[in-house]
Amino acid sequence: MKLLVDLRGIGETDRAQVGGKAFALSRLVRAGLLVPPGMVVTAEAYRQHLTGTGLGGRIHLELERKRFKDLRWEEMWDAALRIRNMFLNTPLPPHLRQALADGIGERWAEVPVVVRSSALDEDASGSSFAGLHESYVNVRGVEAILDHVRLVWASLWSDAALLYRQELGLDVGRSAMAVLIQQLVSGERSGVVFSVHPTDGTRAMVEAVHGLNQGLVDGTVEPDRWVLDRASGRLVGHHAPQRLAAVRPSGNGVGLEALPAELAATPPLDEREVVSVYELARRCEDLFGCPQDVEWTYAAERLFVLQSRPVTTHAAEDGQRSWYLSLRRSYDNLQKLRQRIEGELIPAMVAAAEGMAAVSLADLSDPQLADELQARLETLARWKGIYWDELIPFAHGARLFGQVYNDTVRPDDPFEFISLLSSGGLASLKRNQAMAALVSQLREDRSLAAVRDGTSDELPDQFAADLDDLAKQVGIPDGVSQPGPARSALLRLLREAAREGAMSVPAPTIATPALEEGFLAHFAGAERARASDLLDLARASYRLRDDDNIYLGRIEAEVNRALEEGRRRLTARTGLSPELLEAQQVVAALRDPAYRPEPVESTAKTQTGLISRARQLIGQPAGPGLASGHCRVVHRPADLFDFRAGEILVCDALDPTMTFVVPLCAAIVERRGGMLIHGAIIAREYGLPCVTGVPQATELIHTGDWVTVDGYLGIVILASEGADHGHPDESDT
């Protein structure tokens, strides 16, 4: 089986070796259309690479870590990044390398090329999955081309591809990827033509931009758009956008350049050329026997076909997948988002929480409290919407940087870049510093001796005020200005933290200047400035991803304050246990004294014949280290105040409003998975072992269980305290 095939030498039976894209182009070449010269690295080369290096087994181990349906989008991204790094850091087997380097070097040693994915099943079905795999423009030299071939191979397992794994039939043992290498035709005008308009079968559509068509395809450059009548080929409409920029070859890749005034005022195509482009699409349609979506470019007045594929209706999107795909944003888009978040959204969240905090709930009548609670629930729902639509997508800044960092530095650890993002400025760390200051005061201040001993909760004024401030930051919205159960609970936690050696301090920031310089040294001139800007964006992304939860948490705390006030009044009236009342029941019951809420039923557990217990659970290795200790499983915020120094924090989803106990922890275990989630971020800050993505962690692990958290392997081992792995009843792996 050949490893390299020229586009002109592809036969009718070669589709399974060259993939859909290359196969279609070869047919266009045979039909006499103008296609940039190219060759294909066949699927056989991909397979030889996987078997020759053992990469197939490693991909399998990564992807089967847990059930796909249990994977969150962040874990899918993490898995794709790990696999991408495996491809980046695994050299080609010598025989394969030699064969490819010889073949590629003969033709492309000095010529800039485009390295494109040509997936085996792409475009063969009725659905379109464009954009799941990578393509790279303006790659020069044999080494760089071979590097990019591996990156295209890796994109077979991109996060987006994993999202469509069922439709694509992704399977480590069977799936493979061909790669198309074509001479870069540096077109002056480029675009896309649909021989049938996607929404009107009687029409066709041409889109065009100045420069290369990458700007159009990824959405950064808005195109001119013409609509034509299919039957007559006549132009029936033209939409001209504000033409601002063009994508052109730049350095080792492409760059966005501002358009000079003259070009900005000129449509990329004249009417005659629009018709020529449409006619090209009709020729493709005739050749393939169905309506085509054709990418084209004009270079030196010659019209080239870059790609032709069937016009397809996009696969029906479920909301979650389209939301996830919308997270992939450009640097420019993320910069705008950053301005909005820092300039508008965060200040507005703070103001919303402060406004609610100023309301004295006890003074409200029942109907007024109902209105207040309803309004707060709506405010929270609105902010949660903003959180999903704008704040989470901003987290992509850190991911964008991670990919650039890995491509540039090629570290062994694909998550090394996170060390560079930590800047010590997290709001949760500042709060923890304030708490640490109170703890050392409690430990050392003689006037607090009785408080320290637990014989009194009476506090000096300044300490009381500082404690009250802290209380509002740890989920006690009413504060602790007066003695009572809340103050006692918070003091109990501080006393625990004041014990000798109980509290850990944040690990020194690992982001040494050397690591940062090591990254930036790969760039020069304007590229270095861009890399530095990207790092700055990533740091903001990392910080805000944590901070936004603090601010959202304050709004949630205010909603809960109103809810608790309502529940308190209703419990007195109905005798129902307060936690059995849902928020909307509270609103209804406050408005209508005759309304009797039905308590919420809890579901009974099914009985099985055997008595089960977890012995070892798998998650993701999110913070390196090894620790053993008793568990504290946190089901509700109040559980946090029972935390004892040296315990292991086990929770469903750790958010920054909960991380004030982290300085007391020996390790963190979380059900929610990911390398860039709060639990992982805070664990890294404190240098704690952390395993995230442990399914059912809070159900299978119980408070008091003795566990060992292996943050290197991403596993949690449950055993009796001091148990030796050699005990006959406990050994099992």
Partner: protein
């Protein structure tokens, strides 16, 4: 739910596999043997038949504590994550004569071709009273199932 799902997989594994690796001990070193096993419906007992002159039978006469490994390996690299293994830990003994008929029926329902072997005067029908199953899936996920007595 992991607990219920893995229990269902354990039951399926025990129902579909025919052979298990039996680990015995002679006081000096462990010894492994492949045995054709059958399980009682409650998974409380695993039955196998052996000649009384085998090393394994001698071992379990002296040391009744045994382990049995039941797995569904296919032999390729995907086994690491996809294969499942259950280690049954318990005590082995020859089935007492008053319970032999019932145990024999359970065993022959699973291995009818071994009827001559079961009935040979030189063979013993052995039962392992299982205390726990240690079930490993996905290479590293381990659940323990205790048999209620």
């Amino acid at each position: 739910m992991i607990t219920e799902e893995m229990e269902a997989r354990l039951r399926e594994l025990v129902a579909t596999q025919r052979l298990a690796v039996l680990a015995t001990y002679n006081g000096e070193h462990p010894y492994c043997s492949l045995v054709a096993f059958a399980a009682t419906p409650d998974l409380g007992q695993l039955l196998f038949v052996t000649s009384r002159h085998t090393r394994k039978f001698a071992n379990l006469q002296c040391h009744g504590e045994v382990a049995l490994l039941i797995d569904d390996r296919s032999g390729d690299e995907t086994d690491l994550r996809r294969a499942m293994a259950a280690t049954a830990v318990g005590r082995a003994e020859e089935v007492p004569p008053d319970q032999a008929a019932e145990a024999r029926a359970v065993y022959l329902a699973r291995h009818p071709q071994l009827a001559d072997f079961v009935d040979a005067p030189t063979c013993a029908l052995v039962r392992v009273q299982v205390r726990t199953y240690h079930v490993v899936t996905r290479f590293q996920q381990v659940m323990v199932y205790e048999v209620a007595r």
